[in-house]
Amino acid sequence: MICPHCGNETPEGHYCGYCGARLTASANRNPARRGSAYAANPHQSVYQPDVISTFFPHLNPARTRLFGWILAGLAVVIFALGFARFVPISTVLAALLVPLLYLAYFYVVQVYEDEPAWVLGATFLIGAILGLVATLLLYRSVISGQSIFVRPKPSHVLLVGVGVPLLAQALMLVGPLILFFARRQRFNDMLDGLTFGVASGLGYAAAESIVYSWLLITGLAPALGDPSSLALRTIPLALLKPLLYAGTTGLICAALWLRFDRTPPTREMSALTSLPVALIAAILGMIIPALGVTLYGGQWLNILWYAIPLLGIILLLRQVLHVGLIDKARSVGHGGTITCPHCHQTVADLPFCSNCGIAMRSISKRARVPVTAGAPAETATDRTSADTIPNTTQPDTTDTTPPPDQPTEGHDAENA
């Protein structure tokens, strides 16, 4: 069939294999943009602030759920350890939770397949080392201005609320920028930028958290009193701060890589995906929580100060990734047929799965195994039992008859 959006002849299915536009009816007002089907995980909306599918875009749906449960489960364990007053161990685990999960993600999906793992490791380590050095150097300056019951001095507010976050953001970009200038020929995808930015941000956040919590980790500060207050402090430490740092750095890097992606866009790209917007959003995302906790801090307020900017950063990051995957679509496969790791249907190896609409660039190379002639589709990938998901709603692409509730002229209905 001919796609009405890009004009290419695309296999029958719910999505155009070339531009990713929705071809059958859906709730989308703009089927080409398909806001209800996130390009890296079409089961989710672009506006659904899902942490896993944003920061771990190469995971298939089953593993997205699995990683989500692991993250939530470990966060609960860390919270419980804090509540039980095991403050040193809960603090260390909180600082390392998301970085270790990211490492597990990198290992599971093998994002770069046979390409050197040290690239990502070095990016993480550069972020961690710079975080360690900067935090140690600034420790005395930051601590000497702390005040309780009295308003902090303006110089302290400027330092902790503006200067330190800006410096941190600049340092978190060092590792990815080295790769950008030195190895962009090899790592030229927007998702590469996201991966490096997230790794660097997580390294920096882990180092900063460990240095700032050192007195608690070593037991030199008292850890008595109300156990809920000891548990509450693990939430920003384990989840909010690392994800915020990873989000702001990943956002800038994704926008930077997207800006210099030579693939011509299929349509005019949204201003939300531009590099200046990403920079402004990341700077605000770093400064707002720092200023908030410095001027109007508190156990619950600290969580809010970090959670609200994080929500905004995640939504913007999803927008950048979605638009980048849709509007700069390009084929990355071998041109044959492939078993889609997302919906497990055998489809043409085009930029998008014509059945579920996932952007094939968001699938790890390891999962892009061509279907060999005569081999059953289910064995074409290295699919495990954990990957198995029931596919009751997605028809096989060989069946060109639309589902009963979907009219053939779906895109016309959407446009109407």
Binding site: S147, I148, W214, L215, P222, Y306
Partner: protein, 212 residues
Amino acid sequence: MQRMRRRLPLLFGLLAVALVAMACGAEAALPPQQPAATPCVSNCPPLVGYSSPMKLLSTDHFSFYYSSPPWSVDSQDSSSATLLHDSDYGTISAQFFAVSVRSGTSADALLSSWTRQNLDSSQFAGLQDEGPVNGAEIGYVRGAGEQYAAVVNQPNAPNVPIYIQIMASTQGTSGIVFAAVSPLDPNKPDPTNPRQVRSNAYDQLVNSLSWL
């Protein structure tokens, strides 16, 4: 490269285990705190105060003297005054508040009500009541006092311990509350550190106060 990639998680895993083990065993491995060396062990005279000139601060309800430096006035109005003292570990604050009380209100009652209203436990992690301040008095008027320990809990700043000492005295329908917040542990003074608040620094402030 394949081997390298497989070893990377192992290395990070070992690093994580080492950090966790360090966190578990760090307290036990720390050397015991040695008491500060001082020639006097009991019934000691007060330490020599600051040699800087004394300044008078007056409000409608009280006046007191303070040494400047190290103390500086952060703010004052008709019923309160706040002094600050920089240290390497954070700002030390000492505050006086004049409050009106019903005739016959005890210092204990004033202390309790003021603490309940002003000591917001959500500001800290692990706020712990460390017991009464023995011999509490303000301007030589007998009162009551309580001390607390907690940890400053800001995700973007060092989690340092702080020690809060609050005293209250009443005289007729007047009451005065003194609140000092310090990152320095009063139970482990280090007289060799010239930037540490001296153990009698609060006494100097409190004892010089005159009720107006």
